[in-house]
């Protein structure tokens, strides 16, 4: 079978899974909806493998294959076809997406077991995977935008999955609205590109660009505008500043959802977009600089915020934001292979961390605050081990995978020279912060005196809260549909969870082996055909900087772990003392650099005021009273005037008759 057939199959399986579960959930027995969903994604993964194998059967020059099912609309020069593009970049992405998704589906079967919305969950999750695969496999801007929007919708559905929780629904709306802002940017960017290249198809547009559709030089105004607008879309989807405020709130969704959407896949769509559009970006260096700067800023700011957060899921969320900043920075400076490699490794260890977080939250009976956790080392050994592996990978300690991918990005950044050295330094500061907050989280949750729930678990009994509560606000809930189920699960007691976490742990450890510098270049070579027309896809590196980078990376990571150990394990009072001394800085970090308040002030309050004005004043006074009231009032007055003529007096009518006759006679008299 051809690669493109495999491509269509990859999209078809999750779609089929969604429909089967959504339409047949009443007749599906027991928990089979979960297995059907997982099976569908697993089949998609197999199809992706098939696409990989068959693609490698082609010569490197012919590895960009497009296939079109039918033409949706072909008019006024717009050719909107249902076409996918199967090339190394998209195959790489679908492998990562479907692989990690399969493991997360497996994990969810245990995690969501007691939830009454079980079937709905898997239907949504399959729909999400379908949308993500569609986005990645899209062969033209049309399907890209469709996939982009679907992914946003799926994210909304899954964030507000526990829909009776007000915090969850509000978070879902926030995510969706910010995503829509990104969608607008994406569509407008597409317009600019379409304006010059005259086509929506990727390959045709890229060929046209290389042939000079935007002029011979670089930084054509329209091209820069288009690329910046595409970046707006990328930033909204990948939670970069200033469109990042939705990601921490998105932790209201179930933990597997956070793992899948907000760590491994959806937030990486922005990175994929920039990598895919590299012919355009390379001719608009201004846009590339914007991307690099925003990526660097985000990784720093998110790192500082993560230091001060107390909710374990939010720490991991800000960590995601920070790592995606790395990826965005990477693909904006031309380190496409490095950025995508980091995407893959990050998917592994971040999903692993989220899964571990789900396990420890289960042990706490739904409580998510780090301040209430402690000493789970003995009670949750498997979870602790996974957290350690994920944490070490995240901090960039060799030989874990994170080390190789992160350092390669920074290497290429440093090689660009000029002002990119600032980004290089910021990157390593961010690495230090990453190590600190990651191990802060691990030490606080697993080291120290065991809390009551941990001791309960060591005795063999899983803690249950008597009254289910919202972990963020503490308000009381129940366990019916729309809220989490009555029972919680931990990894030590659920085989599917352990299988999924184990496989991801192996990936976190071993994935780095495919791209050890100077030793093997599997990713580089694999992705090369996609970037054949790139002038920045360099595979050679300067040895000096390479070695220096590796050493600095290791040192920074270990230093971070050491600092965290000292502050949170050896001398537990240090954190409180530091907080007291650096009070303003702490306030800034804990309040997330006041972005939410800023957006509220600049956008939400004027909008609400405008709405109030429109509804209260304009609607009431202008429309109701003046326009409608005035019109009806006029009609009423007119008809009242006319009604006066209908007096009912017969004599009056007779008089009018005679008057009429007289008038007519008068007229005829004048005539003659």
């Amino acid at each position: 079978m051809t690669p493109t057939t495999f491509g269509w199959l990859t999209i078809a399986f999750p779609l089929g899974g969604t429909l089967i579960i959504a339409l047949g959930y009443r007749v599906l027995p027991g928990r089979s909806a979960g297995w059907i969903g997982t099976g569908a994604i697993f089949l998609a993964f197999l199809a992706a493998l098939g696409a990989l194998i068959s693609l490698q059967g082609h010569t490197p020059a012919h590895r960009q294959l497009a296939s079109s099912l039918w033409s949706y609309a072909s008019t006024v020069g717009i050719d909107a076809r249902m076409s996918i593009l199967v090339d190394p970049l998209s195959v790489f992405m679908i492998l990562v997406v479907s692989g990690v998704s399969t493991l997360i589906h497996l994990y969810s079967i245990s995690y969501m077991d007691a939830d009454r919305g079980f079937a709905r969950y898997f239907s949504y999750l399959n729909f999400f995977v379908f949308s993500m695969l569609l986005l990645v496999l899209a062969g033209n801007f049309f399907l890209l935008i469709v996939g982009w929007a679907f992914v946003g919708a799926a994210s909304y559905l899954l964030i507000s999955f526990w829909y009776r929780r007000t915090t969850a629904t509000r978070a879902g709306i926030k995510a969706f609205v910010i995503n829509v802002v990104g969608d607008v940017g994406l569509v407008l960017g597409t317009y600019f590109i379409f304006k010059h290249t005259g086509t929506l198809d990727f390959l045709k547009a890229f060929h046209a660009t290389t042939a000079g559709a935007f002029g011979a030089g670089s930084d054509n105004g329209d091209l820069v505008a288009g690329c910046v607008l595409l970046l707006v879309g990328a930033f909204a989807k990948s939670a970069q500043i200033p469109l990042h405020t939705w990601l921490p709130d998105a932790m209201e969704g179930p933990t597997p959802v956070s793992a899948l959407i907000h760590a491994a896949t959806m937030v990486t769509a922005g990175v994929y977009l920039i990598a895919r559009m590299h012919p355009l970006f390379e001719r608009a260096p201004a846009a590339q600089d914007v991307g690099a700067i925003i990526g660097a800023t985000t990784l720093l700011v998110a790192g500082t915020i993560a230091l001060a957060q107390t909710d374990i899921k939010r720490v991991i969320a800000y960590s995601t934001m920070s790592q995606i900043g790395y990826m965005i920075m990477g693909v904006s400076v031309g380190a496409y292979a490095a950025g995508l490699f980091h995407l893959m490794t990050h998917a592994f260890f971040k999903a692993l961390l989220f899964m571990g977080a789900g396990s420890i939250i289960g042990a706490m009976g739904g409580e998510q605050s780090l301040q209430k956790m402690g000493g789970f080392r003995k009670a949750l050994p498997f979870t602790y081990g996974c957290f350690l592996i994920g944490g070490l990978a995240l901090s960039g300690i060799p030989p874990f995978s994170g080390f190789f991918s992160k350092d390669e990005i920074l290497l290429v950044t440093g090689e660009r020279g000029g002002w990119h050295w600032a980004l290089y330094v910021i990157g390593y500061i961010g690495a230090l912060l990453t190590a600190i907050y990651t191990f802060r989280m691990i030490f606080r949750a697993f080291h120290g005196e065991p809390v009551a729930e941990a001791r309960e678990l060591e005795a063999g009994h899983l803690h249950h809260a008597e009254v289910p509560r919202n972990p963020a606000t503490g308000e009381q809930e129940d366990t019916d549909v729309g809220f989490p189920g009555p029972s919680h699960v931990i990894a030590e007691r659920a085989i599917p969870m352990r299988v999924a976490m184990g496989l991801l742990a192996l990936g976190s450890i071993g994935a780095g082996l495919v791209q050890i510098p100077k030793v093997d270049f599997v990713i580089d070579d694999f992705l090369k055909p996609s970037f054949a027309d790139s002038s920045q896809y360099a595979t050679h590196t300067r040895s000096g900087l390479l070695v220096a980078g590796l050493v600095i990376g290791t040192v920074v990571g270990l230093a971070g772990i050491a600092i965290a150990y000292r502050v949170w394990v050896m001398q537990p009072g240090t954190a409180a003392a530091a907080r007291a001394r650096l009070r303003p800085l702490y306030e800034l970090f804990v309040n997330k650099w006041y972005f939410d308040e800023l957006i509220g002030l600049l956008i939400l309050r004027p909008a609400a005021a405008a709405g109030r004005f429109a509804a209260g004043t304009f609607e009431r006074v202008v429309v109701d009273d003046t326009l409608i009231g005035g019109t009806t009032g006029l009609v009423r007055a007119g008809s009242a005037a006319v009604r006066a003529a209908q007096s009912g007096f017969v004599r009056y009518y007779a008089a009018l008759l005679v008057l009429g006759v007289t008038g007519v006679g008068f007229y005829f008299l004048l005539q003659s």
Partner: protein, 99 residues
């Protein structure tokens, strides 16, 4: 006497009938004044018939008389019915069609 005299009388009678229709309040008298107007028209018709020397005007006058008889019939029937219902016999009071 020339025909013009007859026509003048016809005009006077017609006008008197019109004034009566407008100013009288008793419906019976209103109907009577209506009869006056019809008779004025009849006189004009007969006069013109004499002028032209053919009988068309006289036939028309006969038909007008027939119609007048029918109309009186119905009108008086209505007045009787109104009287039977104890309503005031006054066109100004019978104002159901107002508004």
């Amino acid at each position: 006497m020339s025909i013009a005299w007859y026509l003048a009388i016809s005009a006077i009678v017609f006008t008197l009938g019109a004034i009566g229709v407008i100013s009288r309040r008793n419906p019976l008298v209103v109907l009577l004044c209506l009869e006056l107007m019809l008779n004025g028209a009849n006189l004009a018709l007969i006069a013109f018939s004499r002028m032209w020397g053919n009988g068309d005007g006289q036939i028309l006058a006969l038909v007008v008389m027939t119609v007048a008889a029918c109309e009186v019939c119905i009108g008086l029937g209505m007045i009787v019915a109104i009287y039977r219902r104890h309503l005031p016999i006054d066109v100004d009071e019978l104002r159901e069609l107002q508004g």
